[in-house]
Symmetry: C2
Subunit: 397 residues, 2 copies
Amino acid sequence: MEYSFSDRVQALKPSAIREIFKYAADPEVVSLSAGNPSPEAFPIEEIKEISSRLLEENPIGVLQYSVTEGYPQLRETLKEYMKSHHNVGKDFDDILITTGAQQIMDLATKSLVNEGDVVITEAPSFIGSLNTFRSYNAKLVGVKIDDDGMNMEELEKALQTHKNARFIYTIPNFQNPSGITMSLEKRKKMYELAKKYNVLILEDNPYGDLRYSGEYIPCIKSFDDEGIVLYAGSMSKVISPGIRVAYVIAPKPIFQKMVVCKQGNDVHTNIWSQMVCNELMTKYDFDAHLEKLRNLYRKKAQFMMDLMDKYLVPMGITYAKITGGLFTMCTLPDYVDMQEFCKDAIKNKVCVVPGNAFLTDESEECHTFRVNFSTPTDEQLEKGIKLLAKTAENYIK
Amino acid sequence: MEYSFSDRVQALKPSAIREIFKYAADPEVVSLSAGNPSPEAFPIEEIKEISSRLLEENPIGVLQYSVTEGYPQLRETLKEYMKSHHNVGKDFDDILITTGAQQIMDLATKSLVNEGDVVITEAPSFIGSLNTFRSYNAKLVGVKIDDDGMNMEELEKALQTHKNARFIYTIPNFQNPSGITMSLEKRKKMYELAKKYNVLILEDNPYGDLRYSGEYIPCIKSFDDEGIVLYAGSMSKVISPGIRVAYVIAPKPIFQKMVVCKQGNDVHTNIWSQMVCNELMTKYDFDAHLEKLRNLYRKKAQFMMDLMDKYLVPMGITYAKITGGLFTMCTLPDYVDMQEFCKDAIKNKVCVVPGNAFLTDESEECHTFRVNFSTPTDEQLEKGIKLLAKTAENYIK
């Protein structure tokens, strides 16, 4: 049987990262390619306690159908949390609980973007989001990132050129994959440009609560007086990714369309996990939990940077200073073929993600690769960085 | 701010049933409009036991990111279950775990249907699926249902007329909303027609294991030698709908496209709940659990039919005999305005779903309404049917 598929999925490929994970699954390979929280980061005891209490006190609530908008108590808790911690959420906004933040990308694109419409993204950007935009036949326009976030001249040029741009997708804090954080000045500028050119902003902030150094910078959504920003938050990096709970705060008319789309997508998010998140945030000291995570990752980030300073920098490989999140991007000298380097690294039993996987045009020349420091143990980090240095020996002049 | 939306969602409305649920939420109203499992149907003690054991033995497995295809052990368990119980699944097939069966409708439509392509469905059919097809701008063509399932002459006519039909959507067992089951003969005929006209079949079977009387009829997928059937199964009616776990068995090339679409949709299904389902199916007597559910619902179904025989049939209201599933459809005499009847029923504090909500063209003349017997208590069922009879007094000549 010859199968034919819809135009929108004809060209879709499995994520390049997923392919790399196949190598990473080899127990002999040190994987610096993942984006998983540290196994030490999960509030296991609390979840045990909450889960058995919920199943005791309200088993039907845990197991029965629920509403598309999300568990009402969790929506309330997150509304208050985002208001008090990040000044996010106005009267014209509403909040929808989603099955991971990936679903926010899906619902936003489905609601807002016609085939052929433009989505402007940072280049590089999170491959999962890019692939979702592509799956609706959106045209991706990448704007390069400077050390302080998206280049604003290029962004304005892109907005002038592409009249059918529907939204700007940005990860302002500890961006995946670059690790870069957008300055306050640029956040304000991006908001002004979006207003001027009548496009929306989709602000994706999975790592916002994981800052290890430097000063807090307000979310773009906190300036949103006009109702042009969709804010995506997630429990994946602060509670658990396996339970797939995230949320979007968006102006009510957009919220309503997203609710209708979610109804047709998965009816509602796993209610058991929503209830667990709400208990964790209200009956336990959630701020203390976040502080614990920051302490855990701050140490790991510093350990990673020390290793890179010692083994990679002398080989001419630079990296963006880690101030939060789970990643940083390394840059090879520009005479090194990055694809060859990454393949050789795998032969040497260390696995990283080639930087072009994150580009809107994967065929562009690229000398970067992404490394993660949250998933490996300290021993694995040390071994992995040494193996990268060993790989570099063959390339560096 | 004026928001503009994509063409595909411009016309999407919240499901009519959801609107009705607002009335049903009034504690004074007896709701026969839901589709929830009975609160008595949940294996609460088993889930308690499994969940605390999993969090003890493998907490990282429960909370960490997992793979898009689904929990490998659950995929294996379901493969074996479907092979041994329903002779479903061939070497050319593979199985994907999804976030409820609603997501199967989404992934199948996204993978297979271009805007303007035709999806052929039973009329009436499950509104949730119809709305998902609509959300991709598929054109719905409804084929009427006889007492033994979809009318095959009309189906063939539809296939001849609509060369761009991509698949036939059918719920062969205890259909939602009609309660009707397709005969073996018609199942074979549908398969032959699909083959002849080169379209796929999406067989949705959430109630297949809930037969209360009559003989087992094989799934359409069990005849599938050509790889033209997608089979949708679900845990919602046999374990819990709140945890959103379902599965699709489809030919590998279609499976692969659905995996890529799911990656962009929600990355993977809640892994905790997948593991719970697998434990329930392997470490407990799952067949005995299903038998328990059938005994519970058989009693409720009989109770409901006795009530309808006593109070509604004498008023000229007929219904389809309940042999399985959670619903049946009542038919009013054709001189009664069904919409008015349903509105008056709400005034009388009983809530049912108007039949036209399930039609591909909601404006068609319609004299039916759907009733559910799984969610209400016996007391509520009795009260509800009596209130329907009272409502009918004003209409019946």
